[in-house]
Subunit: 303 residues, 2 copies
C-alpha cells in the first residue's frame, strides 16, 4: 500500500482541435492523464466521476494500464466535456465550451482502501474539495497537489489553507507569478514554499521545469519534441511521471530522487504531446520509456 497512489481529479471527454487534426469526445481529464503516466511506476487508484455516457471501453482501457477505477462513480447525466482549440504555436488554448455536467456535483468520497494509500495526488479541482479529500485520507508518505489560475484568483483563501498540508506543489509559470506577485521564478518558488509545500515544481512547457527544494533550485530542460500534436494533459502527465517515480522510490526527500523525478516527468510529458488525447500514453512501452529516459539523462551528463 505504501507505494500505491491515490489520485482525485477530473475525468473528461475532450474535443480538441490543433493544426494536426481533431478529436471528438476523446478520453481526457487531469486524473486520467496523471494516472496513465504514474501507473508506469506504481499502482494507481483513481477517484472521480463520470456520466452515463462514459464509454465502458475507456474504463477497461484504464484498468489494463494498472489503474484501479473502482473509485470512479457513475452518476446520472453526462460526463465533463471540454471543447478547445490550440493555435499553431501551441502557446494558447482557446476554450470553446466547458460542460461541467456531473463534475459540477463532484464530492470525492474515499473508501477505507483509498484512504490508506501511501501517496496522494490532488489533481486540479476546487481547493475546498482538495481539503475535503485530505481530511478523509489517513496517512500518506507524500501529498502532492496541482492547481490553476481560476482557483488562485477565486479561491485564494481556500488554497492558502490547503498548502500547509501539501508536501509537493505543481504550478506553471503564470500560476507561480499569480500566486506570489513575483516575476522571478526562484523568488516566487521560495515564497510558495513558505506557504507550506516542502517542494515546489514550476512547469514551464517547452522551457522545461524548475524544482525548488531545501533552499536549492534545479532547472531541467524539456525533452525536445519535433512534432507536437496535442499538448492537452502534458502538465498532468509530467506530474504523473514525477509522483509515480517518487512513489516507487524508497525515500523521496532527497535531491537524487527529486532529480530523477524531474527527468521522468519530463520524459513522460514529451511522449504525451506526440498524439491526441491519451493515444501515445496508451501505447507506450516500458522499453520506449526507459530508452528515452536514458537518452535524456545521458545528454545532460557533462563530463
Amino acid at each position: 500500500m505504501k507505494n500505491t497512489i491515490l489520485v482525485v481529479g477530473s475525468v473528461a471527454l475532450d474535443s480538441v482541435k490543433t493544426i494536426h487534426g481533431s478529436t471528438d469526445r476523446a478520453l481526457g481529464g487531469s486524473a486520467v492523464h496523471f494516472s496513465l503516466s504514474a501507473s508506469n511506476f506504481s499502482p494507481v487508484k483513481m477517484v472521480g466521476v463520470v456520466g452515463q455516457d462514459f464509454p465502458a471501453h475507456f474504463s477497461r482501457f484504464l484498468s489494463r494500464r494498472n489503474i484501479c477505477t473502482e473509485g470512479l462513480q457513475v452518476e446520472p447525466g453526462r460526463t465533463f466535456h471540454w471543447v478547445g482549440e490550440y493555435d499553431k504555436d501551441f502557446k494558447n488554448a482557446t476554450t470553446i465550451a466547458t460542460h461541467l455536467n456531473v463534475f459540477q456535483q463532484f464530492r470525492p468520497c474515499l473508501n477505507k482502501d483509498h484512504a490508506r494509500c501511501g501517496v496522494l495526488f490532488l489533481a486540479n479541482i476546487d481547493p475546498d474539495l482538495q481539503r475535503g479529500v485530505l481530511k478523509q485520507a489517513r496517512t500518506s508518505r507524500l501529498v502532492a497537489c496541482d492547481t490553476m489560475n481560476y482557483w488562485i484568483s477565486l479561491k485564494r483563501r481556500s488554497l492558502l489553507k490547503l498548502l500547509p498540508d501539501v508536501d509537493l506543489l505543481f504550478v506553471n509559470e503564470e500560476e507561480a507569478r499569480q500566486l506570489t506577485g513575483e516575476h522571478n521564478l526562484i523568488r516566487a518558488a521560495r515564497i510558495i514554499s513558505k506557504m507550506g509545500p516542502d517542494a515546489v515544481v514550476i512547469k514551464r512547457g517547452d522551457s522545461g521545469a524548475m524544482l525548488f527544494y531545501g533552499g536549492e533550485t534545479l532547472s531541467m530542460p524539456a525533452h525536445p519534441v519535433e512534432k507536437v500534436v496535442d499538448p492537452t494533459g502534458a502538465g498532468d502527465t509530467f506530474a504523473g511521471g514525477f509522483v509515480g517515480y517518487l512513489a516507487s522510490a524508497p525515500d523521496w526527500k532527497n535531491f537524487a530522487a527529486l532529480r530523477r523525478a524531474m527527468a521522468y516527468g519530463t520524459v513522460m510529458s514529451s511522449f504525451s504531446v506526440e498524439d491526441f488525447s491519451v493515444r501515445r500514453m496508451g501505447r507506450l512501452s516500458k522499453t520506449e520509456m526507459c530508452r528515452r529516459y536514458e537518452k535524456y539523462v545521458s545528454a545532460l551528463r557533462v563530463s
Copy 2:
C-alpha cells in the same frame, strides 16, 4: 596561435536603464562582451573601431583581462552609443537611441597576426562585412558567427552567402524562426544546418539553449539567476564561453566538447546579467567560474 580567438564586432558605450538602476556610457558592444567571456579560456584578439571619446581606461581594462586590443582602431569622431531601457520582466528592450557614429564606417582590416588566428568569431555586424573578414582570415579551426533580426530581414542574401563558410551559428529563438519560417526549434535548426553551419546554437534566454549537431539535438537549461540586473550582452557572453571553451579544447567536433561548451556558455552568461555593463565579468575570478560550472553540471547529473 591555434587556440587564439579573433573576434570582429562592435565596441560601444551603452546607456542602459533597468528597474535596478542605470548606466551612462558604460563599456559594451558585442566584441567586448564576447571577449570578456572567451578570454577566461583562451587568448583573444579584438578587431573593432572606437571614437576619440573612448576612455583609455576601458582599453587598459580589456588588456588586463587577456584581450589584445591592438586591432582596436581609433577614428575621428565618437564611439558607437546605444541608449536603451528594459521593462521590469527583462523581456523587451526598448531602443531609445542608436548613434552608430564611427561604427557606421567600420571596415574591418586584419593584420597578418589576426589572419592566422585559429578560431574566428564574427560578432553581429553586417553580413557583407563578416564575409569580408572571412576572406582576409587564412586558416581557422573554427569559424563561429552571430547575427540579428535586422540582417535576416534586410541582408538575407548576404547572410545566406556567408553561412556555407560558417561552422557554428548562434541565433536566438525569434531569429531561428525568422530565418527559416519554421516555428518548431528542432526543425528550424535542421533547416539552418542545411544552409551551411555544422552546429547551430539557439539561445533562449532564461529558457536555456539548444544545440543542433550531427542530426542530434541537445537542450540545456539556463542557470537560474535570482536577481537579473542588466541582460545586455548576455548572448555574446554565452557565445564567448562557448567558443572560448572550444578554442581551448583539443577537438571541438564531438558531443562531449560541445556539451561542455553549452555548459560554459550558460554559466558565463548567468554571471554577466548580475550587474550592469561588464562589471560582473570584470571582477569574475576563475574560482567563482569553476565553482558555478561544477554546481551547474552536477545538478544536471541524474544518477
